[in-house]
């Protein structure tokens, strides 16, 4: 990414590469900050599901750093794109299960009860931050040859 930005032949390509690089740097910051926050909040609990954000952050940081440095090597692209897709789904599943686990007794998708669950102890949009990072990463490498 850095090379593509510095070697951009025209203003259009430079703007495109600048956006890509900046967004990937944001994703990299996210991969560091979110696990740090989760660690402080004690998200590393007994259930295996609670470990997922941490486990995902490891390939997340590595693949994002690698793609910033070299986006041409096929295995790096595959590694990065796979990690980002996993992040998209982990975030979406995380949000869903946060809502489900927030229901007091039985799961009910009536508006009032669902909104109560959304406002429960487990934050719903926070899980979607991983989906956001995944989408941002995928958009940043979309047709980046």
């Amino acid at each position: 990414m850095i090379k593509a930005f510095t070697n951009a032949p025209d203003p259009t390509t430079r703007a495109l590469e600048f956006i890509r690089l900046f967004m990937l740097l944001l994703v990299l910051v996210g991969w560091v900050m979110y696990p740090l926050e989760l660690l402080i909040l004690g998200h590393w609990a007994k259930s295996w599901q609670s470990w997922l954000p941490f486990l995902l952050a490891v390939p997340g940081v590595i693949s994002t750093a690698l793609i910033i440095l070299d986006r041409k090597t096929p295995w790096i692209r595959i590694f990065f794109i796979t990690t980002m897709w996993v992040s998209v789904f982990v975030g979406a599943f995380g949000a869903y299960f946060h809502i489900v686990w927030n229901f007091d007794d039985e799961v009910s998708w009536e508006f009032d009860k669902a909104m109560e669950a959304v406002a429960g102890a487990r934050p719903v949009l926070a899980a979607l931050a991983f989906t956001h990072m995944g989408i941002t990463g995928l958009l940043s490498v979309y047709r980046a040859n």
Binding site: D10, L16, I19, M33, I40, P123
Partner: protein, 148 residues
């Protein structure tokens, strides 16, 4: 944005406009979802500070939506200004969430243990930075557009 996407003169230009539009769409979705979340979480309290996130969304979403229809200076400059406001509001929100958590716990954020305790408080710290994230993305999209 839509017009620029349709009128793109070559493949590279089209790709740039597509990437810009996609990131702008993420900003718009962010303003809707964060606004909705603050409403569900009853963040609209008596203090004026608690009303800021909702106002950021109420102004931010229409401005972002307007960028899809017209991105001339009349829309883009207010959009850029609001993205700057969102960026700063997010940072200040994170700081004050931390500060107020520290006050509740009677610790100082200027020590490691105090910072950690304040971070673990009732007010989420990184959540406020979501507005900084939206602002930064919007600024990057807006600043790379020129009027020519």
């Amino acid at each position: 944005m839509i017009e620029a996407l349709i009128r793109a003169k070559d493949e590279q230009d089209r790709l740039l406009e597509l990437v810009r539009s996609s990131f702008l769409l993420l900003c718009a979705v962010g303003f809707v979802f964060y606004g909705l979340e603050h409403w569900v979480l009853k963040h609209y309290l008596e203090s004026w500070q608690s009303k800021i996130p909702l106002f950021l969304s109420l102004v931010g979403f229409p401005l972002t939506a307007a960028m899809f229809l017209h991105r001339g200076p009349l829309v883009r400059y207010p959009f850029l200004l609001w993205m700057g406001v969102s960026l700063l509001a997010g940072m200040m929100g994170a700081f004050f969430h931390l500060q107020w958590n520290a006050q509740d716990a009677e610790v100082t954020i200027w020590s490691l243990s105090g910072f950690r305790e304040a971070f673990d408080g009732a007010r989420p710290v990184l959540a406020a930075l979501a507005h900084t994230h939206i602002g930064a993305v919007g600024l990057i999209v807006g600043l790379t557009i020129n009027d020519k």
